[in-house]
Symmetry: C2
Subunit: 437 residues, 2 copies
């Protein structure tokens, strides 16, 4: 293919944005190269369920090559991007250089610790499969250690789990963690008492799920309270040494598990483009989703900064999907010498689940809570999930968990010396080194 | 429970032997402590399917605490055993010491490289989930690298996969690897040719599946040949530097993937008991399955050496299961002051699968091959698999693979710098550090 004269579209990232851009160019007279450092598309919205033993990594990851097997104009390339030269229209990767006529940067976002070294070193992010498996291993390990810990103070510290960040990820993780512990794990550890368990959700602002209507925010925090999650507002983490979480208020929480869902930023590679970036390091794009000085370079999804009704577009799948499709159309327009479309975000509403029968939904101007919102959440996520096998297996796992109050995948897969010593997380359990599935 | 006077049965290992001994003591007037360094029971017979992208680790691992949740007289303890003092009836673990009245050593077996350092460092074993995930990652990575490798010699080396050992593990792995590559992966990599792929099965003896009747051995090697596996007899590996497999014949095979299924030995902890060991370091036990000098210490499963019709009992699940049950009964006999039973192995026959519709079965004096044997293999393994959820998910994955010639879990989960440099396997992909599921 390399010698055909058709223009070369280079897509960086096989997330929702890159995936949909590539699919939308299926019939286009272009050569497409899709580059990702992973060989699979990850269904991020369900990552927290891998972290809480509900799903296997393989259930929410789908091989990129399988997705594009029948797309003749696309080549997948598993490589790490090292440098992007916009002027030369050139991309240097760990497996050689690539030139492009059109570039779609869909590199997504990564965790931001706001420069807090101690939190970055000892806390657990939740942006990829490795991190999700690290959380699962950590939580289960804490219970194994607590079951053998005679000192009640130490035991309570082992059973204290701190989730930081009241956005959807934090809310869903805290809710799922509460159900994992109170409905499942406690039956595994008869020698432990729920009275020794603490689950905290720390939010610096005064509400959860910013962006959702106030009643839904209230419902979310109320529901979490009923699940015995200590929802704390105005609580800013200042450090975590692996044994103690410290807050701005100088409150100290003895815990060995801090799940960091408080900050994300555009993928770091975006910082090296030398173009204008805005909040969360997102690259400022025109309404056409391209760069002012590089009209054939598009940035979409979490990595792109564009405002919608005065607000930056949320870092959510629907935005990335729609931007991917618009960008594909704009590349066709450009090829045909037609004017490009401006991106208009069609807000499909938003959903967040807190646990069994409990979710919040903002759709078609409606505000829904409880079972109905939860059922919608299930349906939408099953629908979005790539691959029939994955859908089926996820459905079975969900049904199983729902009817039997069980979580099948509660496995500790980190090999390390026992007993596990706090702070020493890096030994054996090195973050992002528990290489999932 | 610790202060009740009932005798303490300590079981080391949650494999088939330990699991069945513990279950059989469900109603017994004893306290049971089950110690394992993992928190799950692993269904070893399907490990090779995790290694070949067919199943998720979570599909063949079941949480030990879930298995024994309703067994009131059992406590599970996740710890690493450090020292066993038979005279003092004492076990030192990473989380403290335990004393026992009865000890059941069901520690299983581990890979033996016959002291070949280079093979141990660069080869891949297949005894636990980490190793299975390492093999999966390695095979898929080889294809990703080959897809980007211009040099045909290097590409052929990347696509050469050497399986060592003609026992069931080697045969099943080679067959599954061939089907993964020829039926699935090749569709993922249109730029690669099957002509560049080599799969070798190296066996030092002159037949596969030693222990099976000769016609079944012939069928196995013929079937593998038809799957384009180069079955080589009288081939002894002498070294593997990560780029070249060297044989006793001085033949050199350029390859970066060596799967070692040629040797197992009793778990190393057995060497520190100071008791008599036989072939493969297995501990010699009496017909009562206990130690001559320590009648209340039993050794069962792969770790035990006992002959049956002049042959050492095979390292297979049925042996471990039956020995676990007999040992449970013998502990009850001993409690009641009754004479102990001698262990009589009831050979249920044996099964090995080579691929779709192809297996060999020796049971009820019958020799079966082909579809019927394969169907039996499926049934027996589904039946043995612990947990309904696991059975269901495995069945779905199998049906999916069978009807759609697909392997859903072909994910590379090892984070490492690209390009991957041979021999450097230890970087990022450190063996047993790709911590599965």
């Amino acid at each position: 293919m390399a010698d055909t004269p058709s223009p070369h579209v280079l897509i960086l990232g096989a997330g929702f944005g890159g995936l949909n851009a590539a699919r939308a160019l299926r019939e286009a007279p272009v050569r497409i190269t899709l580059v990702d450092r992973k060989n699979y598309h990850l269904f991020q919205p369900l990552l927290y369920q891998v972290a809480t033993s509900g799903l296997s990594p393989g259930d929410i990851a789908f091989p990129a090559r399988a997705i594009f097997r029948n797309q003749k104009n696309l080549t997948f390339r598993m490589s790490e991007v090292q440098h992007i030269d916009l002027a030369q229209k050139r991309l240097d990767t760990s497996t050689g250089a690539l030139t492009f006529d059109y570039l779609i940067l869909a590199a997504g976002s990564e965790t931001s610790y706001f420069g807090m070294q101690s939190v970055q070193e000892n806390g657990l992010g939740l942006k990829d499969l490795d991190e999700a498996v690290s959380i699962r291993n950590r939580v289960l390990r804490m219970f194994e250690l607590a079951a053998q810990e005679p000192d009640p103070e130490k035991r309570r510290a082992l059973l204290t789990f701190v989730v930081v960040g009241g956005g959807p990820t934090g809310v869903e993780s805290a809710g799922a963690l509460s159900e994992l512990i109170r409905l499942v794990l406690i039956k595994d550890y008869p020698q432990l008492s729920l009275k020794d368990v603490r689950i905290l959700l720390l939010e610096a602002a005064d509400r959860l799920l910013g962006g959702f209507p106030a009643p839904l925010q209230e419902y979310a925090s109320e529901t979490l309270w009923r699940k015995h999650v200590e929802v704390r507002f105005g609580a800013s983490v200042t450090g975590f040494d692996g044994e103690r979480v410290t807050l701005k208020s100088e409150e100290v929480i003895p815990s060995q598990t801090l799940i960091w869902a408080a900050g994300v930023r555009a993928a770091r590679i975006m910082d090296r483009l030398g173009v204008r970036q805005s909040r969360q390091n997102r690259v400022v794009v025109t309404e056409l989703l391209n760069l002012p000085d590089h009209p054939t370079v598009f940035v979409i999804g979490d990595a792109a900064y564009l405002e919608h009704e005065g607000q930056p577009l949320p870092m959510m799948a629907p935005v990335a999907i729609q931007q991917g499709q618009t960008t594909a159309r704009n590349i066709l327009h450009h090829l045909r010498g037609e004017p490009l479309e401006t991106f208009v975000y069609k807000d499909p509403g938003s959903l967040a689940t807190i646990g069994r029968n409990a979710a919040v939904a903002r759709l078609w101007g409606l505000k829904l809570t409880g079972f109905l919102a939860w059922a919608m959440w299930l349906g939408v996520h099953l629908l979005w999930l790539v691959g029939f096998r994955n859908k089926l297996v996820v459905l079975i796992n969900w049904a199983w968990d729902y009817f039997f109050y069980d979580r099948g995948i509660r496995l500790i897969t980190a090999q390390q010396k026992w007993p596990w010593t706090p702070g020493k997380a890096s030994e054996g359990e090195t973050k992002g080194r528990e290489l999932g599935l």
